[in-house]
């Protein structure tokens, strides 16, 4: 089964102003979505990317150029990612649609992961 990565993008401050009961409710929605895709065998793995720190590394004139994140001034950051099983893009998109991230002003980039060929023999 092909695998897809869901890159969860969001504006950095989007979650900061929720009241305790809202926070609890949103956590509940995420946990429910996660359990659902786990139960359906869709879920492969997920990771949260640390918000503090971060570096941009590039080459300029043969020298490494390193710029510090955090990107708190940036319009959007990648909060984390999920890897899922899906037969095709339609299925992968369908799974993403259920993710509460979309409800709270985030957006999701869906990309198919190129499978590593299994060596013959």
């Amino acid at each position: 089964m092909p695998q897809y990565i869901l890159l969860l993008r969001e504006a950095p401050s989007d979650f900061s102003n929720f009241s305790p009961e809202e926070t609890q409710q949103i956590i509940g929605e995420y946990v429910a979505w996660r359990s659902k895709i786990q139960a359906e065998g869709i879920f492969v793995g997920s990771n949260k990317l640390r918000e503090e720190g971060g570096r941009h590394v590039s080459m300029r004139n043969g020298k490494a150029r390193i710029v510090d994140g955090p990107y708190s001034e940036a319009k959007e950051v990648m909060g984390g990612y999920f890897i899922i099983n899906a037969a095709n893009y339609d299925e992968a998109v369908e799974t993403s649609k259920g993710c509460p991230h979309l409800k709270y002003n985030g957006w999701i980039e869906v990309r198919e992961i190129e499978p590593v060929p299994v060596p013959a023999g």
């Binding site: 305790p20 956590i27 946990v31 996660r34 990771n47």
Partner: protein, 402 residues
């Protein structure tokens, strides 16, 4: 959570504790979608909030150059022990919140906020109050705790009975607030009832605080609470006890109520809660409104009236009396109450009178009473109920060609 952390850091740090818990929740919101919720979410949140508090205290102590050591008990390893610890912390917190130095409003609001985890806006919605005034009430209550440096511990044995009394009163008020007011958001109000039941059962389960009357209150609240889902019809219109679909009553809650009722009988003291619980049990166990053991209900109301001559209890007694001795006898007793000043502006008095008159076939007098009741209440569901009664009576008069 707040109760546990307040025990660790002291009541003076209550505001910081609340902020730390909020931070921990925000952190959970960032992590749990990706990492899944931990096995014991509460322990996780407490740990994170505790670390926040420690960081902050270290920063503060560096600023003020004090070397106060904060002693941190290790959060219990075993989950069962941990659950017990949280339960005890919450109990201590209830007793703190019900401290006699705090106003009654303050006691309820602070209990809901710190023990129940309700937000200010939820409390405001539940009590139909404005948010800023609830916030102010809570701030004032906290200030009192700080000013008098009240310790987060169980009250000493000699003070326990009095404090238990006020804790029970607060729980009773909390439940009534959720149960009897018919406006506002249904969900929040139901939460209020369930929180009152939870706190009462928490007290009931404690070896020292679990006096028989705590069980009696628990039984009362559970029997009443079992009817929450049946109080309105599908259209949201109010239903009287006689009109409710009894199959909607929560059997599990009634069962728990009976357990508490049994335990309430262990002492030699009979409290008002005992009598009220017994009345509620009569209703909860009756197959139908007609099958209710009305003479027992009447006995209980008479005993309540002897102990505490309140016109409201007297009114309830008459409802039971009308069932036992007939509507006529009820009306005669009711007329004796007409003189009572307290009842003059109490809409249930006229609504009850209307019901009895209607049953006695005195429709036009019934309409008069319903109209008086209508003039005394601003609750929309009650008003709709009364209007419906009036048109019911009116239509029949029209049918009779009067």
């Amino acid at each position: 959570m707040i109760a546990t952390l307040t025990r660790i850091f002291g009541i003076k740090k209550l505001d910081q504790v609340e902020d730390a818990v909020q931070d921990a929740m925000a952190r959970a919101l960032r992590l749990w979608p990706y990492q899944g919720a931990p096995d014991n979410p509460t322990a996780w949140l407490i740990q994170v909030a505790k670390n926040r508090m420690l960081d902050q205290l270290r920063r503060d102590s560096r600023l003020t150059e004090t070397t106060d050591e904060v002693e941190i008990p290790i959060v219990g390893e075993a989950d069962a022990a941990f659950a017990g610890e949280i339960r005890d912390d919450q109990l201590r917190m209830i007793f703190i919140c019900c401290h006699p130095l705090i106003s009654e409003d303050g006691q309820i609001a602070l209990t809901l906020k710190t023990v129940g985890g309700f937000s200010v806006s939820e409390i405001a919605r539940a009590f139909l109050a404005r948010e800023p005034s609830v916030a102010k009430t809570i701030a004032r209550a906290k200030q009192r705790l700080r000013d008098f440096d009240i310790k987060l511990e169980m009250p000493p044995p000699d003070k326990l009975p009095a404090r238990l009394e006020s804790a029970l009163k607060i729980i009773y008020l909390m439940f009534n607030e959720g149960y009897s007011a018919l406006e506002g958001e249904e969900l929040v109000r139901t939460d209020l009832c369930h929180e009152a039941i939870r706190l009462c059962e928490l007290l009931a389960g404690h070896p020292v605080a679990g006096a028989p009357k705590v069980h009696a209150l628990g039984a009362l609240l559970l029997f009443q609470g079992a009817r929450l889902a049946a109080r309105c019809d599908a259209a949201g219109e109010l239903l009287l006890l006689s009109e409710q679909d009894r199959s909607l009553w929560d059997r599990a809650m009634i069962g728990r109520g009976l357990g508490h009722l049994r335990k309430s009988a262990s002492g030699d003291e009979i409290s008002d809660f005992h009598l009220e619980a017994e009345i509620a049990a009569c209703h909860a166990l009756a197959q139908s409104f007609e099958d209710t053991d009305w003479s027992r209900v009447l006995d209980c109301y008479e005993e309540l009236l002897n102990r505490n001559p309140s016109p409201v209890v007297a009114l309830n007694r008459i409802v039971a009396l009308a069932k036992v001795d007939g509507v006529g006898a009820g009306l005669i007793e009711l007329n004796k109450l007409t003189e009572d000043r307290t009842l003059r502006n109490y809409y249930p008095f006229y609504a009850t009178r209307g019901e009895l008159l209607r049953e006695a076939g005195k429709k036009s007098e019934a309409i008069d009473s319903y109209q008086k009741a209508l003039g005394l209440t601003s609750s929309e569901p009650v008003r709709r109920f009364l209007m419906k009664r009036i048109t019911d009576c009116g239509l029949r008069i029209a049918d009779c060609g009067l």
